[in-house]
């Protein structure tokens, strides 16, 4: 619907996927993230069982699927926020499976959350500064040596201000993050993630509960991230939103990858349509909502 404008602009751009084949587990020319046989089950229910997945560097890859397909679980596994049963994955060539959440973030893969996690009783600027890496003043002993981290703090503040400017939050910098609206919190979370200077950004349903006008602005922000050379992987279940901006789409159903390809491939994939519509019919009957 309202994603037409972005749709056309994406269409004229070059194909960033080189000559990747549209099939599950297809190899990419320059993968930043490679996952192999990742498995996670809760009791008897297998939530995630992904055989092979590669994410191309410098692209926007969307991870879609009906409710309960295991998107968020897979996301949590990759970012170290959940323990995997088995499987291994590498990020920029280094294995990062088994690493904890903060170690994954330090490696350059930062995530956001489906339910926005603004640190409500802290100012917007403090939220941002928390994202900066390698701060001397964050060590307990270092905390007392103000002269040692003052210049670093200043540099971080400048960088934070630039990002706040870009996300149009600069006027709010001294406000408590808890006083921001839902949409502003989404922007803050994205800006804060950028403060860590990541090479890959994982967005967990960035459009959930956001009004249409802000969806456009969020989509533009995501596109500009890619244009700066960052890799974006995001989970979403609204098909319309994704088609416009994604370079590549991975479709998850019942924990496994059932299809991969460019938006045009996915749109016409009968398997995807079946999985999506089939699952959504079931979902409609049981009246279930929410992911996983």
């Amino acid at each position: 619907m309202s994603s037409d404008e972005v749709d056309t602009s994406a269409a004229v751009e070059v194909d960033r996927m080189a000559d990747a084949v549209a099939e599950p587990g297809s190899p990419k020319s320059d993968p930043i993230l490679v996952a192999d046989s990742v498995k996670r089950s809760f009791g008897g229910l297998t939530a995630v069982d992904v055989n092979h997945l590669e994410v191309q560097r410098g692209t926007i890859t969307a991870l879609i699927g009906p409710n309960g397909a295991g998107k968020s679980t897979f996301f949590n596994l990759l970012t170290g926020f959940d323990r995997v049963d088995k499987g291994r994955w590498t990020f920029e060539g280094r294995p990062i499976n088994g690493r904890r959440g903060h170690q994954v973030a330090r490696a350059g893969m930062v995530r956001t959350f489906q339910l926005t996690k603004a640190l409500t009783r802290m100012t917007v600027l403090d939220n941002m500064l928390l994202g900066a890496q390698g701060q001397l003043g964050e060590r307990m002993v270092g905390a007392f040596l103000r002269p040692m981290w003052r210049s670093q703090e200043q540099a971080n503040t400048e960088r934070a201000m630039e990002l706040l400017e870009r996300f149009k939050l600069v006027d709010k910098r001294q406000d408590m993050a808890g006083s921001l609206s839902g949409g502003q919190r989404k922007l803050l979370e994205m800006a804060r993630a950028l403060m860590t200077d990541p090479s890959m950004i994982m967005l967990d349903e960035p459009m959930a509960g956001v009004n249409p006008a802000l969806v456009q602005s969020l989509l533009q922000h995501i596109t500009s991230l890619r244009d700066e050379g960052k890799t974006v992987l995001f989970v979403e279940h609204d098909m319309d939103v994704i088609m416009g901006i994604s370079d590549w789409i991975v479709v998850l159903a019942q924990g496994g990858v059932i299809a991969e390809g460019r938006p045009s491939d996915i749109r016409s994939d009968q398997q995807v349509i079946d999985a999506y519509l089939g699952a959504q019919e079931v979902e409609g009957e049981s009246g279930e909502s929410g992911d996983e």
Binding site: F81, A105, V110, G137, E138, M140, E153, A193, M195
Partner: protein, 329 residues
């Protein structure tokens, strides 16, 4: 009934040694709960190991009191690690359950028969303050102050050291909280997953805060030992922890001066209600009360005042109401 006398007596206790000791322990609890969001319901356990560090070193092994302080701090460090390693990776409530139980277990172990050779069981340890009083610059027999606000030289010395420690750790807290380290700690209080996603080792930060607050609690316990000169296990009941929580919430959690103001206000209220009720009793206005009833009525009275405080000023005396409301939402 001389209301002025009662007020003066209450004011005296608000600046006295006990208020100072509780303020110090609450400064530690403020680091735990006020800034890091750790639900420590066993601060009295840290006080106990601090007090017995002094007690056992001085009374049993005849060591200098300073060594006793170090032993107490060492025990608090071990206790914090033992509590933190299994629970800090889990949800916040696990720490709460573990700390309240651990503090009670410690009290029961220290009073148990098998521990008697070192702890002297239920009888406790005596003659603990001579080493501390030897270095007293005040005249031990002299009286300092004016009117009802007079203290002995020994009390002055203890108050100077304890309030000095309170001031020292208040500055310490202020410096920590106004640094990037403090920013991470406050972030952990708000949402630890968010902080983790930004590359911070949340477990390590929580552990540092637990150890630090525990050490301050142990110092308060050690000061209690030298203040009283004698300690028994049964004075370290969970009630002490709850007093500390009341002090923290009364003053304002997450404020550097919260625990200090809180402790002074709390001991003022405790002594004022006590004096007031006893005064009424002497006038024959409370014929239905027997001697031991006064203590119970007094606690209920303080409780009522605190309920009113929570209703009308949930952020505590010096807390920030705006912050409080954000949290509720």
């Amino acid at each position: 009934m001389d209301i002025l006398m009662i007020l003066a007596e209450a004011a005296r206790s608000a600046v006295g040694p006990v208020a100072a000791i509780y303020a110090l322990a609450a400064v530690g609890l403020n680091l735990h709960f006020g800034y890091t969001g750790l639900l420590n319901f066993g601060q009295v356990g840290f006080m106990l190991v601090g007090a017995y560090g002094v007690g056992i070193s001085v009374a049993v092994f005849d060591l200098p009191v300073l060594v006793g302080f170090l032993v107490g701090l060492g025990c608090a460090l071990v206790l914090a690690l033992l509590l933190g390693i299994p629970t800090l990776r889990l949800r916040a409530d696990y720490l709460a359950i573990t700390t309240i139980a651990a503090a009670e277990v410690l009290r029961l172990v220290y009073r148990a028969g098998f521990a008697e050779p070192v702890t002297n069981g239920v009888y406790g340890l005596q003659n603990l303050s001579s080493g501390f009083r030897e270095v007293n610059p005040f005249d031990a027999g002299g009286r300092y102050g004016f009117g009802a606000m007079t203290f002995t030289g020994n009390q002055m010395w203890l108050m100077t050291v304890t309030w000095g420690l309170v001031a020292l750790f208040a500055v310490f807290t202020w410096m920590l909280i106004h640094s990037p380290w403090g920013r991470v700690i406050k972030g952990v209080r708000e949402d630890e997953d968010a902080v983790r996603s930004l590359g911070k080792n949340v477990f390590a930060y929580k552990m540092q805060a637990l150890v630090l607050g525990g050490l301050i609690g142990a110092l308060a316990g050690a000061m209690l030992a030298v203040h009283q000169g004698a300690i028994q296990p049964d004075q370290f009941k969970p009630q002490v922890t709850f007093f500390l929580w009341v002090i923290l919430l009364l003053g304002g959690a997450g404020r550097v001066f919260g625990p200090i103001i809180g402790s002074m206000a709390f001991w003022f209220l405790m002594n004022f209600t006590d004096g007031f009720l006893k005064g009424l009793g002497r006038e024959g206005l409370l014929p239905f009360l027997e001697g031991p009833d006064y203590g119970a009525i007094q606690l209920a009275f303080v409780g009522l005042l605190l309920v009113l405080l929570i209703v009308f000023r949930p952020q505590g005396l010096i807390g920030d109401r705006k912050e409080m409301l954000i949290n509720v939402k």
